[in-house]
Each structure stands twice: as C-alpha cells, then as structure tokens.
C-alpha cells in the first residue's frame, strides 16, 4: 500500500463521513485511496479480500460526484459484472447508502432479463449509474446511438476482474473498454479484484496499451483475518477412489446442524445432486437444506437465493454458481466437498463465510478420496500462506475479435486503421499483428477464404472513402442475436410427465405438458437407455423418452439411481497446487500433517514401489488379469492427462504394445495393453516430439477439436447459434459443424477459424501448454519401476477404470464392437 496519503476526512465530503459514523464505521484506507486515485482521473485497480467493502469502494468516486447533482443527467457510471445476479444484488446494496446519504442518483440494471421497453427507454433516458454485463455492453456499443449514450461517461467499474480477465468474456469486455475510451477520452476505469498472484497483469488490462503501454494505479487492502481452515478428519475408512464423499456425509450433516448457515460447495452438478439427496436421507431433524446449480430452473434458483438472503435456510448445496461475490446471507460455515482444484478458487469459496474482515472465515475441506487428501492438505497450506495460483497470461481470442469487428460495423462505418489502433490498445490484443487483424476483417466480410468466391455476398463492404459498413440491416439483427462468447453445451429440457411410454419404444406417444424441472446436457442423456434412472433436482427420475428438445421423465420409485455421477471434477488441478502436492508426496517429514490412513498408504507405496518425486515422473508397469498396465503420475490435471493418454496410446500402438484403453484423473494416468509394457522405454514413449506430428495427426480427428471449432465458428459469427439446433420437424436433416471442419481442414488449414480453434484447444480442453511444460520438465528424469503387481498408488487410478468412460477417439472400434456383438448373437 502507498504511504503518506492524507487522512480520510480530507478526501470524503462531510455528508459521506457523517453517514459512515452513523453506521458506526470508519472509512477504510483503501476506500479513500481508491477514491482519490480515481477522482484524479487515474485508472485504478483495487485488490481486496471478500468483505473488504470492495463494492462500496468501487462506487465511492461516482457517488461523491453526485454530492452536487449535475445539471445535465447523461450516463455517468457504468458498472460491469460477470453475473447478472451480481448486478441485481449490487443495486440492492447501493440503494442503502444512496438513500441514507440523501443522494439523488438513479441506479438501474440492464441484463438479458430486462424488458425490451425498459431497454429502449434506457437508451433515450439513461440512468446515472447503469449496472450491466459484458454482453449487454457489447450490444450497446454496437448500436448507432452509442456515441451519444456514452459521450459523458466518467467511470467504468469492473467487478470480479480476476474472474473475468483471462477469458473470452474478458476479451470481449477489454475490446468494449477500448471503444468506450474512444468515445469518452476522459473515462476512468476502476477494477475490483480478489487477491491475485500477479497484479501487474490486471493493471495493464485496465489501462490503454496504445500508443504506449500504460498501467493502472494499484490499491491493495490489508488481508482479512486468517481463515479458520480444517480438513475433515474422518473416523470412517477413506475411499481409495471416487468422488462421492459418501463416507463423510454423516459428519457433514452434524456440522451443518451445529452451524447457523452453511454453504456446501461441490465441483459438479452431479455431485451436488448426490450430496443433496444423501443429506436429506439423513435429515432426521428436517433441516431446511436446499440445492443450487446452474441446470436448475431459474425460478427455482431465485427462490433458493431469496430464502438464503432471508436466513430461512440451514444449508445450501451448490456448485460454482455461488462462487462469486454474491452476498446472499449470513453464512458462517463453508464446507468444500472434494478437492478445491486451485488455491485461488478455495480462497474465493472460503470468503463466502462471514462477510466481515475482522472475523475469520470458517471452512472445512472434505476430501473424497486419498489423493484428494493430499490436494486438500496442499490447498490449506497455500491458503494459510496466502499463496495464489499463477494467472495464465493469454492472447485475446481471434473469434472474439471477429465478433467485435462486426459489432463495430453495426455501430457505424469505420476505417480499418482507426479500428486496428483502437483494438491494440486492449491488453489482450496489444500484440495483434496487423495481418491478423486484416484476416479477421476479411473473415467478417466474406469468410476470409483464399478462394475469393463470396465477394458479392459480403456482410460488410468498403465505401468509396475506404471505410467499412454493414451491407444491410439484417446483418445488424443477426449480430444482436449472436453476441456473446458463451456457447452452451446442447441442452435438453427435463420435463416431468405422468405414466410411462409404450414398451420399448424410445419416442413413444408420451403425454407432454408436465412441469419443466430444468436443463441437462444432451450428451449425458444420450448415454441413457429408456427407463434408466438418474439424479436431477434432488429427485431420482426415470427417462421415458426424448421428444424433440425435451427429455421426458417420470419420478422413479427406486432409491438409488442406476446411472451414477459421471465426472470427477469440472476444473482441472491447478499447476501451482500440483507442484505443492508433488512436494508433499516426496517429503515424508510432511506426512505428519496427514491422516494416518493416508500416511500408511504412502509408506506402503514407498515399500512396494517408490514415491513420485518433486521434479521427476514416476512410471510403473505391472501385469494384472492377463493384461499389462502402465501407470504414470504427472499431476498435471485431467485435461492434460487425457491428451497425454491419446498421444501415448498412439505411440504404444506403433511400438507394438497393443494398448486397449486408458483412464486419467487429475493426478495420474493408466494405460492397459495386451503386450508387456514393462519392456517399453518410457523415455522414448514420452519424448517431447510427441507434440509434433503425433499431435497434428490426432488433432485432425479429435472430437474435442471439433467441438472447439464449433464454438469458435459460433462466436466468430460464421454460423448462427441456432444453425445446428434440434429441428422442430424431425423430418429435417441435421447438418453438423464436423462436416465444415473436415472440409476446411483439408482445403485451407491456415484459415483464421482453425487458428482460433487450435489456440483454444492448446490452452483449454487439451491443455497442451501444460502437457508441453511437463514433458520438458521430466526429460531425462523419468523413473520406470517394473513391478510384479499393482502398486498402492496405482490402485486409486485402476479403480476409475470402467467408472469413467474411456476417452476414446477409436470411433471405429465402437462400430466394430457393435458389429461383433451381432456375429456373436448369430453364432449363439
């Protein structure tokens, strides 16, 4: 923190200080410091822990401007949050100081839920403070009247900057910010962030990078009281694998009963469903325990949030939907089931308990299996040190760039040079080469193909003066329908119907029109057969059929669902936590902090094989049940391990080891084969060149790559969001983006959309960056142990075989299987 600032009284108008005293508060140093910095016109980043009065601090500069109401009332301050719920929540909290200080400020929200008439009125007669989302900002900026609307904008406040900056939404927002600056050069940006490892990155993000690199001023609030963090030390037997945490549910229930209000965080929707159901099974006291996750019907989620805010609930089982700083109620205990996956994520979740700085937040971590104990231990140590995960510096996404260019054309004609210099002032695009910008411009105009056959159909065209404009109004309409960077997985509505379908008929004549329970991923439902039961919305449901875009279900009488939870975790283990887990594993002196069951397990591993070291890579091979297993322990997260598994099995295939399949979790990877992998040379198998031709060859067919391409094609605006939706008339034919991908890959492999998809895959679903880092790190440090039986560490990953489906690209193998089954039947 900077020293030598004048005292609070000088900076804060009298009415404001009076209000603070009436409330019994003293303005905090960081609030005053931010106020001064921003009022002096400096872009400023505030880093404060949850409960540090962060939001109020962000609005103080604007509110102080309204000490004396201006004569004219144009839009004064824009507040942007990643969640629309947050915008609504902040408005509620802002109205208290506004009313009590007696300011005349009009505050309104504008989200996807705002009515069309209100939105229209807001453009004509804007409020003083507008609270909105990055997508709504993009829409406002893409309209012809944006230059008048934002002409006098004084502040833009960006909340939860740490959560949004390194994402495509962050890219979109950063581009919006550059346009706001072009319209209102006097604009000051204020960023609010939780503690991050690398503040300079966010400081650059908030400030213009062209014509010169600027950096926002930094204000850091003192850290809050250290959290009261513990790991549940269970009396039950710790499971070797799995994510259910079934063993700990009794103990979790007891803690919930003892606390005032608890938040129970889990990593996936399926886990949330399971834990919720199991807690209710034990709920002899009828405690009001609710469920909150992103797939539930919106109305139901709002009811839960309301009940929380009113203190009517005892506990809420939730996913990351409640991660961010929404102040719903008086939570005094956070239970994190499963491993936290990242140090920063854990800090964020802990912050949900006790929104007061001076009181420690109380949180209990509940590891669901043995590896998760190690991860929890590492996370707790990191939290105590205040350590954070490394932020991932990234270049702005190309598909978002294309979307932005079209949006700017919708706002009005632009010159290519002007727009280019505007765009490179956004930090994520500061290094964008002019040639890439021109390629994006070409893409927006005519698809950007080397074969220039679409010139006459151009979406944006050059006028005589060289500026670009949209070809017609229909293009503006299409842009408005497709704005945003979030491409949802294909979802089906889950609808409750009465009675069953016909016998065996999958799309039988079911009575429709029942209650909608929420939405579920199409890919999950597709794995089910009719009458399979699964958990959803806290109930066991039986699938009756799929009709168009709805999964029709009935309540099932069984007490256990047939189809278990399917995924381990949504977030892969962070690099930083992985490093700490390896450190913990390799040093027996640190094991005293572990439960006895776990340290015994590690000692046994030491005896039978050896422990993974800090920097090396342990590879074990052993036979079992007529097959040969190769277990690797890279600790690089599930995504990188899956990619490694795909590449490794290809290599083993070529080496004649006849691999049959593999399974990966956050910590390890296990490949099984027909031939003895003990004779293999891991050094050769894991040589760094596997990221060369092998990768290229595999990527060509990888379904992950196709999915990534589809998302890029939608965000960039090649195809519209509804292009591939389910058709209302089932007679219609479904065309898949896979076909487009295949043709483009063969005919123009360097096309901008393929570049965008590869970049996404490298940092996203395939986690290539991390895999490359690992291969470089372990080069020459691979330890191969040939064992005569499965090792204690390997048991944990072996148990996942068959639990999670094999991540296979071997599509033809599926067809061959199905064909073989036919032959067997014929011969039976």
């Amino acid at each position: 923190m900077k020293k030598g600032q004048p005292g609070p009284v000088e900076a804060l108008p009298q009415r404001f200080s009076a209000w603070f005293s009436v409330r019994g508060w003293t303005p905090r140093a960081h609030q005053i410091e931010l106020l001064r910095s921003a009022r002096e016109g400096r872009n400023t980043l505030l880093i404060a822990p949850t409960g540090g009065g962060k939001t109020l601090a962000g609005f103080l500069p604007a509110l102080v401007d309204f000490e004396r109401p201006p004569v004219q009332r144009p839009l004064h301050t824009l507040y942007i949050s990643p969640l629309k719920a947050l915008a609504v929540d902040v408005r509620r909290n802002l109205e208290i100081p506004i009313a009590e200080i007696g300011l005349r400020v009009r505050v309104e929200t504008r989200t996807g839920d705002t009515s069309a008439s209100k939105r229209q009125r807001q453009r004509r007669d804007p409020p003083d403070l507008l609270l909105t989302t990055p997508e709504q900002l993009a829409l406002l900026l893409a309209s012809a009247d944006s230059r008048t609307l934002f002409a006098d904008l004084r502040y833009v406040v960006i909340d939860e900057l740490h959560a949004i900056s390194a994402s495509k939404r962050g890219d979109l927002l950063s581009l919006g910010l550059t346009r706001l600056r072009a319209i209102a050069p006097g604009l000051t940006a204020i960023g609010l962030s939780a503690t991050v490892r690398d503040p300079p990155e966010l400081q650059s993000w908030l400030a213009p990078q062209f014509p010169r690199h600027e950096s926002a001023a930094l204000v850091v609030a003192p850290p809050g009281a250290p959290a009261d963090l513990s790991i549940l030390d269970t009396r039950e037997i710790l499971p070797w694998a799995g994510h259910s945490a079934r063993h700990a549910l009794g103990e979790i229930y007891a803690r919930i009963r003892a606390a005032r209000m608890s938040l129970v965080f889990v990593n996936t929707r399926a886990q949330a469903e399971y834990i919720f159901q199991e807690l209710w099974r034990r709920n002899e006291d009828n405690l009001p325990i609710a469920l909150h996750h992103g797939s539930l019907d919106v109305a139901q989620r709002r009811r839960v949030e309301e009940a929380m805010a009113q203190g009517r609930l005892k506990a809420v089982v939730c996913t990351s939907t409640l991660d961010l700083g929404i102040d719903w109620g008086d939570v005094d205990l956070v239970v994190n089931v499963g491993a936290p996956k990242g140090a920063s994520r854990l800090a964020q979740r802990i912050g949900r308990a006790n929104h007061r700085l001076d009181e420690p937040s109380r949180a209990i971590l509940v590891p669901a299996n043995r590896f998760e104990v190690l991860e929890c231990r590492a996370a707790v140590d990191a939290a105590r040190e205040g350590a954070q995960d490394t932020a991932i510096a990234r270049a702005g996404a190309l598909d978002v760039l294309c979307q932005h260019i079209l949006g700017m054309a919708c706002a009005g004609p632009f010159g290519a040079d002007d727009l280019y210099f505007e765009i490179v002032s956004a930090a994520p695009y500061a290094r964008l080469p002019r040639a890439m910008f021109d390629a994006a411009l070409g893409f927006v105009s005519t698809g950007g193909y080397a074969l220039k056959s679409y010139e006459r159909f151009a979406k944006i065209k050059q006028m005589k003066d060289g500026r670009w404009r949209v070809a017609n109004r229909a293009i503006v309409q299409a842009y408005r329908m497709n704005v945003g960077t979030i491409v949802e997985a294909d979802m089906l509505k889950v609808r409750l119907v009465r009675g069953g379908g016909g016998t065996g008929a999958y799309t039988g004549p079911l009575r429709r029109g029942g209650r909608a329970l929420g939405e579920i991923e199409e890919s999950f439902i597709e794995m089910l057969a009719p009458r399979d039961t699964f958990l959803f919305g806290g109930e066991i449901l039986a699938l009756q059929g799929i009709v168009e875009d709805e999964a029709l279900v009935t309540r099932a009488s069984s007490d256990a669902p047939k189809i278990p939870s399917y995924a381990g975790g949504k977030f892969p283990l962070s690099t930083y936590l992985a490093m700490r887990v390896r450190r913990l594993l390799s040093d027996p002196r640190e094991w005293s902090a572990l439960p006895e069951q776990v340290s015994d397990w590690l000692r046994l591993q030491q005896l039978r094989s050896e422990l993974p070291g800090r920097d090396n890579l342990l590879v074990e091979s052993f036979p079992r049940g007529g097959r040969f297993y190769l277990a690797l322990y890279p600790f690089e997260g599930r995504l990188a391990h899956n990619t490694l598994g795909m590449l490794l099995t290809r290599r083993m295939e070529r080496a004649g080891l006849k691999p049959l399949g593999f399974v990966a979790n956050d910590y390890a990877l296990c490949v099984w084969s027909l031939a003895d992998s003990g004779a293999a040379h891991p050094d050769a198998l894991l040589a760094q060149d596997m990221l060369g031709d092998d990768l290229e060859e595999w990527l060509e067919e990888a379904s992950l790559m196709k999915r990534t391409f589809r998302n890029c094609a939608i965000v960039a605006g090649m195809i519209e969001r509804n292009f591939i939706g389910r058709n209302k008339s089932s007679r219609q034919v479904r065309m898949s983006t896979d076909l487009i991908y295949d043709v483009l890959r063969r005919h123009e492999p360097d096309h901008i959309l393929l570049q965008a998809a590869r970049a996404d895959a490298a940092s996203g679903l395939l986690d290539l960056d991390r895999l490359a880092g690992m291969l470089a790190r372990v080069k020459g440090k691979i330890v191969h142990r040939v064992l005569d039986r499965v090792s204690p560490l390997a048991v944990t990953i072996m148990l996942e075989i068959g639990r999670e489906s094999v991540y296979g690209e071997a599509q033809d193998a599926i067809l061959a299987d199905a064909a073989e089954a036919l032959i067997e039947e014929a011969q039976a």
Binding site: E526, I814, A818
Partner: protein, 229 residues
C-alpha cells in the same frame, strides 16, 4: 488398415458398398452415388453464412478417388446432385473442369432429384427421372409402400451407435435386402437418423439394418444397436 468394402445384396445382386458411401455393381461396371449436393456451401453464402467454399471440390475429389479405384463404365448420380437450381451460376470453373474430366470416357446419368429439377446448363451426361437395370430400379426418392429391388437416396440416413468409448453418428446405407437407401455423398449433406418415421414406412417388416461408413470399412450393425437422436 486396408480398405475393406462390404458386400450388400439387393435382390440377387451383390453390390460392393464402399466406405466412401458409394455402391459399385461389378457386372454392370456401374458406380452409384446419391445426394452430391454440389454448391451447398455457396447457397449458404448467398444467405451470408460463409461456409468454406470447398464442398464441391471435396465431393469431386472423393468421387475421383472412387472412379480411380473402380474405373466404372457408368456413373449414376441418384438425384440432388446440385443443391439448387442456381448452382450452375455459382460453381467454380475449376470444379466444372474437374467434373468434365471425370465424365470423359464413360456414361454419366443424372437422376432427377427434388433439389435439382433444373440442372446447370451445358452439363455433360444424360438426365433421367428413373432408371431400371435388370431387377433393380434406381430413383431419387424411395417409392411409397413395399418395393422389390429399389435403390434410392434422398433421405440421407445416418446411424448413431453408442459403445463404451462414446458415441458415433455416421452416414450409412439402410437395407433389408430388397430395398436400399443410400447415404448422402455431398460434403455438407446433413443426416437423418434411421429411426425417423420416414424409414419406418419403407421398411415395414423392421428387418432392415444399417451398414455404417467407417474410415476404411463398412460395418453392418443391427437396428436395435442404433439409437435415435
């Protein structure tokens, strides 16, 4: 894996079902493809959806590969060879030349489909509504009701197969031994699940199966192993 076509028997004729999605009739030296949908990409471009403008070239290249393998005397295109009546105005000169090269030295028959009532002008080849050879009738749209010895296109059948490793949605031939619906050949042709009612009326005895296009092989898969969409 070497290329492994399957044998698909329609009536008494053994057709070679190629994994590229074509049938070859050895005795007649006839190569049959359905639903080429040339210039579908540019049809979308006219609506400002800029799909890669290479679909016609891709289909022609796949067709050229088949012609090289089988060296047919006759090529039979089972309708919807062009995506719409104005495809001829949009097709690239290079693609027209490639088509002419394929047509040289062999008979070429364009069966009429619903998309290509109007063929591009100046096109080589003979245009017909239907064609009968021996006990086999070729047409674009499958006829209504039961049929003996019919090969058609139009429906773009695909099969969805789920296995341990995931799910696959692939183009396929659908046949009960007396009637066959061919997969679409066009690069951007979509697919209709073979559980759709449109197939039920064609195969009333429910004894048809899917012959699914793999990478190098055609897999025969029973109907009940195929899922609806």
């Amino acid at each position: 894996m070497p290329r492994q076509p399957a044998v698909l028997k329609i009536m008494t004729v053994d057709f070679i079902a190629d994994p590229a999605g074509a049938l070859y009739w050895l005795d007649e030296r006839m190569l049959i493809v359905a639903d080429l949908h040339f210039e579908k990409g540019s049809a979308f471009a006219a609506k400002k959806i800029f799909l890669p403008p290479y679909d016609t070239a891709a289909a022609l290249a796949a067709l050229a590969a088949l012609v090289a393998i089988y060296n047919p005397k006759v090529v039979l295109a089972l309708g919807d060879s062009f995506h719409d009546g104005r495809a001829g105005e949009r097709i690239a000169a290079a693609d027209v030349r490639a088509l002419r090269r394929l047509q040289a030295g062999r008979d070429w028959i364009w069966i009429a489909g619903n998309h290509d009532r109007i063929l591009p002008s100046g096109l080589e080849g003979e245009r017909r509504e239907t064609l009968s050879v021996g006990e086999i009738a070729f047409r674009h749209e499958p006829g209504e009701g039961p049929s003996r010895g019919e090969i058609a296109g139009h429906l773009h059948p695909v099969a969805k197969v789920v296995g341990r490793g995931g799910r696959v949605r692939r183009r396929c031939f659908v046949s009960d031994g007396s009637r066959c619906v061919m997969p679409a050949f066009g690069a951007y042709a979509g697919g209709l699940n073979l559980h759709d009612a449109a197939f039920a009326v064609l195969f009333r005895n429910n004894d048809h199966s899917a012959h699914v296009l793999g990478r190098e092989k055609v897999y025969s898969i029973p109907l009940r192993r195929c899922l609806p969409d």
